[in-house]
């Protein structure tokens, strides 16, 4: 019996839902190193993979885990690893290799409070800039932020689809609260989940160039073992994949890696909007912070303030166009984050002084008191 999609209504936490989402998306290779609060994803995968034909390996550390999923992806599987803040830091170099070699894979970071060992069992959203810029060099990345166990399931599938579509590691930036929150998760019928297949190259073997992009800037892929004799390197390379160490090739190679995401940003970005039609104030939030903010928004509406929400589902690329449009017509934007201002910097940059912006910071350990967000909303219209 096929157990890859557990169709039905479940009572799962975000971590379990994420594991099930990965299996439903067709992930059949997992390498990871245990770290709180992401461990339950690995545990669930270890328990479930033998029934769905997947290979689970617990590696010796996060560097190995990230390297292993890149190898598995080139062998032709869908591959994933999961971690939390300190482990995410250790993965950064190989996330860069994934970007440079255009390797589809999914990295889940269930965020805890930091820096360093910080708050292992308590929530944070403090890896958001690490997600954006954690590896060295210029690159663009895709990062999604679920707000509920249901979204942990759904967005894990989306993450795999985006990674296959754009050949880039996709980051699922959960937070401890969402990972450990238990709620209803509805898993659709298997036929309704249609994970995106890999973009295989179909032309003649002798014409294949591993990094020659299609019209949309993304090259089709082959896997190892098919006699294409690919050479894949983290060095700056030409379309054949051969290292070329000069400024000209760097410009071609790195610019394309960045452009394939930037040029498609409108297709990639996902937002959810609430009560924005008449809004004079917009709360911009993601992950667990968005859920806390709904209470503040309801309270402020009761006081007569026209406030709505823009919920970021993709945080990277940042939904620049939509934020820009809103900045022209609202008085203020209020951003609660469980950090002392990370994505807020991006918000300020895009708003560019066209409306007022307010950060509601929280440095981790727990979610915001909705009152703090409420007060920021009230202050923004004074």
């Amino acid at each position: 019996m096929d157990k890859s999609v557990l169709t039905g209504v479940h009572f799962w936490d975000g971590d379990y839902a994420c594991a099930e989402g990965a299996i439903a998306a067709g992930c059949r290779f997992f390498a990871g190193y245990p770290i709180t609060p992401s461990t339950e994803i690995a545990e669930r995968i270890a328990q479930r993979f033998p029934f769905v034909g997947g290979t689970f390996i617990q590696m010796e550390d996060e560097l190995a885990s990230m390297a292993a999923i890149l190898g598995a992806a080139w062998a032709g599987t869908k591959a994933m690893t999961v971690t939390s803040g300190p482990g995410f830091s250790l993965m950064q170099e190989n996330i860069g290799l994934g970007v440079m070699t255009e390797t589809p894979c999914v990295v889940v970071d269930v965020q805890r409070g930091g820096p360093s060992t910080g708050l292992p069992t308590l929530t944070g959203q403090q890896d958001m800039m690490q997600a954006r810029w954690g590896s060295h060099g210029d690159y663009e990345i895709i990062a999604l932020s679920p707000s509920s166990p249901q979204e942990c399931f759904d967005l894990t599938i989306t993450a795999f689809d985006l990674s296959e579509r754009y050949r880039v590691p996709v980051l699922l930036m959960m937070d401890e609260c969402v990972g450990h929150m238990t709620e209803k998760v509805v898993v659709p019928e298997k036929e309704k989940i249609r994970p995106l297949p890999r973009r295989w190259y179909r032309g003649p073997k002798e014409k294949y160039r591993p990094f020659q992009p299609d019209a949309d800037g993304v090259p089709p892929m082959v896997r190892a073992g098919k006699d294409f004799r690919i050479h894949i390197t983290g060095l700056t390379h030409d379309e054949r994949g051969y290292p070329v160490i000069n400024a000209e090739c760097q410009n071609l190679c790195v610019t394309r890696l960045v452009k394939k995401i930037r040029d498609n940003a409108d297709k990639i970005t996902i937002c959810e909007e609430h009560s924005l039609e008449d809004a004079e104030v917009v709360v911009v939030a993601y992950g667990i912070s968005a859920r806390v903010a709904f209470k503040a928004i309801a309270d402020a509406r009761e006081k007569g303030v026209r406030v709505g929400m823009l919920r970021l589902i993709t945080v990277w690329p940042f939904p620049e166009m939509r934020v820009s449009e809103l900045a022209q017509r609202v008085k203020a934007m209020v951003m609660p984050e469980i950090n002392l201002g990370q994505v807020y910097l991006e918000l300020e940059r895009v708003v560019a002084g066209r409306c007022r912006t307010f950060l509601v910071p929280h440095c981790g350990g727990w979610v915001h008191d909705p009152k703090d967000i409420f007060e920021a909303i009230m202050a923004s219209v004074r």
Binding site: P50, I57, M59, E60, R198, G225, R229, I232
Partner: protein, 290 residues
């Protein structure tokens, strides 16, 4: 007049469009590559099944010269990348060719764990006793007393005896040769390629440009002459006995060859028994439409 194009018998296994390579004159890496490709050809393994993975450094560049599927990864992480490749497609014969610094220093943790798991792959570790590409710093295999840029008065650290290290961790095939032992090395790589489990071959190789120059050991030829005069073949010895001292004797040979279930054999067998009827083994890579 028609002139005949010069070719080499191994050209079909080389990316000839990438030659000349970047290795220094009289470096041992060309010999290692020659031995490896000869072994590949003689092994009879279909060429598309062999995948080469390298880390960083002079030896790390080997992946770029073989006309096989090849991956040049991050520093120290060739083994976990190779592990993912192997598990992602168990049909592949995965070979890691990398240096002592890459595999034993920054990648040391992966080395011991890949050996412990008896992951089915072949590792060719080219040991030139230093970090050559970055200018000649000492490393975990540098013999005591050897001078290098970060050991200007000579290294005083205890070096690794690599065969003993991997043997003690569970490697099921362990050999060491110098680049002078071309036939034995080629034979060893051939044996390793068909050996089920973690096979490890250390190759002692001259680095005349850096290690040799800093220690006034003469040219590459002088270093190879030293190998001739100082190598002792001792097959099947206890790997504890093959430590290398500065300009001392070099014990070479095939030290370990034994059969033990590989990671995949163990995993599949164990899960088949403990999970029972519901167990679905991994079905291999995604269908790519042919």
């Amino acid at each position: 007049m028609i002139t005949e194009q010069e070719t080499h018998p191994l050209d079909d296994l080389l990316r000839v469009d990438r030659i000349p390579h970047i290795w220094c004159p009289t470096c041992g890496l060309g010999i290692v590559l020659n031995s490896f490709l000869t072994a590949v050809r003689e092994s009879g393994i279909p060429r598309e099944d062999i995948v080469v993975v390298s880390g960083i450094g002079c030896t790390g560049r080997a992946a770029g010269y073989v006309n096989l599927d090849s991956f040049h990864t991050t520093h120290g992480r060739a083994l976990p990348f190779a592990t993912g490749l192997k598990l992602g497609n168990p049909r592949l014969k995965v070979v890691v060719i990398s240096g002592d610094g890459d595999l034993v220093a920054i990648g040391g943790n992966h080395l011991i764990h890949t050996a412990r798991r008896n992951m089915d792959m072949t590792v060719v570790c080219v040991n030139n006793f230093n970090y050559a590409m970055t200018g000649g710093q000492f490393g975990p295999t540098t013999p005591k007393g050897a001078r290098l840029t970060t050991a200007p008065y000579g290294s005083y650290e205890h070096p690794f005896n690599i065969p003993f290290l991997v043997d003690s961790c569970g490697a099921t095939y362990v050999a060491r040769w110098t680049v002078l032992h071309i036939r034995q090395l080629t034979e060893s790589i051939k044996e390793a390629l068909v050996h089920p489990g973690f096979s490890f071959i250390e190759v002692i190789s001259p680095c005349p440009t850096v290690y040799g120059r800093r220690n006034q050991l003469g040219s590459g030829l002088d270093i190879v002459k030293y190998y001739r005069d100082n190598s002792i073949v001792r097959n099947d010895i206890d790997t504890r006995e093959c430590e290398i001292e500065y300009q001392g004797k070099i014990i070479v040979g095939r030290f370990v060859q034994k059969r033990k279930p590989t990671y995949l054999e163990t995993m599949n067998e164990y899960l088949r028994q403990s999970v029972g009827e519901g167990f679905v083994p991994y079905q291999g890579p995604m269908d790519d439409g042919d």
